[in-house]
Amino acid sequence: MRLRLSGIQKAFGATLALKGVSLELDAGEALAVIGENGAGKSTLMKVLSGAHAPDAGKMELEGQAYEPSSPLDARRRGVAMIYQELNLAPHLTVEENILLGVEPSRWGWVDGGRRREWARRALADLHSGIDPGAPVSALTIAQQQLVEIARALVHEPKVLILDEPTSSLTGVDVEHLFTVLERLRQRGVSLIYISHFLEECQRVCQRFVVLRDGETVGSGLLAETPMREVIRLMAGRDVNELYPRTPHALGAPMLEVKALSGRVKPRSMTFTVREGEIFGVFGLIGAGRTETLRAMFGLDPVAGGTVELAGIDVTGWSPRRQLACGMALLSEDRKQEGLLLNRSIAENLLLTRHRPVSRAGFIRPKAERYMALDWMERLEVRAQDQRQPVGELSGGNQQKVAFGRLLYHQARLLLLDEPTRGIDVGSKASIYRRIGRAAEQGKTVVIVSSYIPELIGVCDTIAVCCRGEVVAVRPVGEWTEHDLIAAAIGQANDPGQPPLNPDTA
């Protein structure tokens, strides 16, 4: 047994973040730690990596008591953590970053030769071809992540903890990361893998534990446990269907985009969405999907082409006018753009349409309160009250508020940019239900997403973008996961060379 945790508890003030967590990990085994946001995953990992000391419970590493005093101490003993947000110094070189804080030195002077040697060795393990002398700012996100891993490898880790490592990677890079992880595992490194994507966990790990409200509520072998069971454990209730299909009829064309181009991206977007249709847009990061939505909504300038909403030419109108016409956009970045983080839930929900709660330009406090509470209930937002600042909510609840604003606005065309990025399964299910209901009511929904199961699960039609153009539009039934990826990297018409291993399931 490489690592054994029993009865770990940790409290912050009056809140018990961990109420009793136990887990075991063998050498060369990959363990998925699964749980909704706020279930205690992050706290557990911080305890493991030495950032927090547990209040109670025992930790053993290879039979010895394991009580790390700091992350550096944990790292020296062989437990290393790769955080979701990259922690690299962008102006330093790759090798400087890899050995930051543990530079080999002689009389206080950095030994450059040995440093390069160590960095090279760590990078070679990853088969990455990254130049140790290059500044980190010149690397792609995927390469930077490999540098993070290399930094962990310098200490010959026994246990490597990865927190949502694929959240900023695209298909090809994810595959490479998985290969690297598999290789490490075969060398005997134990992995703890945290991810919202259950498919990834199945891919990388053998066993799983599920955390809920700071406790381990279940564990088992991933190969033998149906996904539905895992989701039930996570949510603590039956999420009957993550992707409920609500029957809805498609009407006349609602949105017609013709040869739309922006300053840089998109190059030329053409597609038509019908009334009541849920229309998915897939593509790699950089394909111009977000830019298309922003140009349609008037946030970015339009260089050419037209956008018609229900037969009216709305090309280049300001967001204010688009909103007045019934078009609304959910930003992909709820923290930077989607929400007023320091303001209340009520203010955020009602921001685009004050008329129902105001008279002569002044808000009626009671009407505002009832309206906000009503919507919070409909959207299943968990919060103290409608006055709580949105920034204090969990990611899932924040997203429900941001999305709820579009519904409250009674928009007839909803443009959703990565509507479920980085939120827990329960919140995802809630948002999918609301999308289905909106379509049922005859609203038109455009979803931009990089998460294929979600697009296949929710949409009627999926369009694929590649290099700023729509390359294929088909009903959802005619798409497979493999076809989507192939189309997105521009190889749909080249069946002789499947670019990726399609058998990911």
Partner: protein, 333 residues
């Protein structure tokens, strides 16, 4: 995400501090003066809390408080206005000149206040129209308007009659009792109520807050960001213009060199009142209390016979304390 572990108790405390913080400060200062003794060892409370002296403190508060109304709007919208002191000087000189050329008080007030609003609108146009930084634009207009004031006054103060007319606005009658308060104090209180209601309860107020909290979100939600900014700076100019009228009425002369650094007092009042300099939050009531707190500190410490430099050190410390409290309230690292 770790905010989920934040206990409700702490959340409530933070909310409470935002609302009650400035009052708490005021109470602490009052408590201090209630027990302090002056240089002769006598209790200072008798002279400080005399009704007549409290009235003096209020009169001293008025100019800063009226300016703070406009400044709160600007700061809540995520901006700053450094030209406040210069606008006060400019408008007080303008008012004095109009009066000495025989205008009657009402048109003088109207024209002066509108002149302030006009300067504010120019600030707003430069900031919103050319997307320039408010700090830089108003730093420039601070100098330009100060120059304008000196040109308008031909480099000297212009006196107005200290009986009747405009001087009536800030005239202190029966100096030994609290009432009647000068008209200017009532005007300030009335305006404060109006501004507070507009900021908290009007759709326009919500738009100001939205722009200050997150400009991108405001744009995404169809708020006319530029129009809101222009309006905010124009309204601020209007308040500064009115503060200039109050200043003129109190000193009975329009002096182009007056109110240098006043903008810093005004900003300090707003910040002590709980506004965040990064925008998106702030309170009118708090700003008024902040202005009152500073005036009381100045008045009280001079009654104690403390030197000017001690006052300055204390007021500076209060500002830093207020900002520190604000940081803690927002739960930043």
């Amino acid at each position: 995400m770790s905010n989920e572990t934040l206990s409700p108790y702490l959340t409530h405390l933070r909310r409470w501090v935002q609302v009650g913080g400035p009052f708490l400060g005021l109470i602490l200062v009052c408590l201090f003066f209630a027990f302090a003794r002056d240089e002769f060892g006598d209790p200072a409370r008798e002279s400080i809390f005399k009704p007549g002296n409290l009235k003096t403190v209020m009169v001293q508060t008025v100019v800063v408080a009226v300016g703070a109304l406009g400044m709160t709007l600007v700061i809540v919208s995520g901006g700053i206005d450094l030209s406040a002191g210069s606008i006060v000087a400019f408008t007080s000189v303008l008012g004095a000149r109009l009066i000495s050329s025989g205008w009657s008080p009402v048109p003088v007030v109207l024209v002066t206040v509108l002149a302030g609003a006009g300067i504010g609108l120019l600030n707003g146009a430069a900031i919103a129209g050319f997307r320039l930084l408010p700090f830089i634009v108003t730093l420039g207009s601070m100098s330009i308007v100060r120059g304008g004031a000196k040109w308008l006054g031909q480099n000297q103060a212009i006196s107005i009659p200290n009986e009747g007319g405009l001087a009536q606005l800030m005239k202190v009658h029966s100096p030994d009792s609290l009432f009647p308060l000068p008209h200017g104090v009532w005007v300030m209180l009335l305006l404060a109520v109006i501004t507070a209601v507009v900021l908290r309860q009007s759709v326009f107020g919500r738009h100001i807050v939205a722009v200050g909290s997150n400009e991108s979100t405001a744009r995404l939600c169809g708020v006319r960001v530029r129009a809101v900014k222009m309006a905010v700076y124009a309204l601020a100019g209007l308040c500064f213009g009115l503060a200039g009228v109050m200043q003129l009425s109190r000193l009975t002369q329009g002096d182009p060199t007056v109110a240098v650094g006043l903008e810093l007092d005004i900003i300090a009042a707003v910040v002590i009142g709980g506004a965040s300099l990064s925008g998106g939050s702030g309170s009118i009531l708090g700003a008024i209390v902040g202005a009152l707190l500073m005036a009381l500190l100045r008045n009280g410490t001079s009654q104690l016979g403390w030197s000017n430099y001690i006052q300055e050190i204390i007021i500076g410390s209060v500002i830093v304390l207020a900002v520190g409290l604000d940081r803690w309230r927002q739960g930043k690292r």
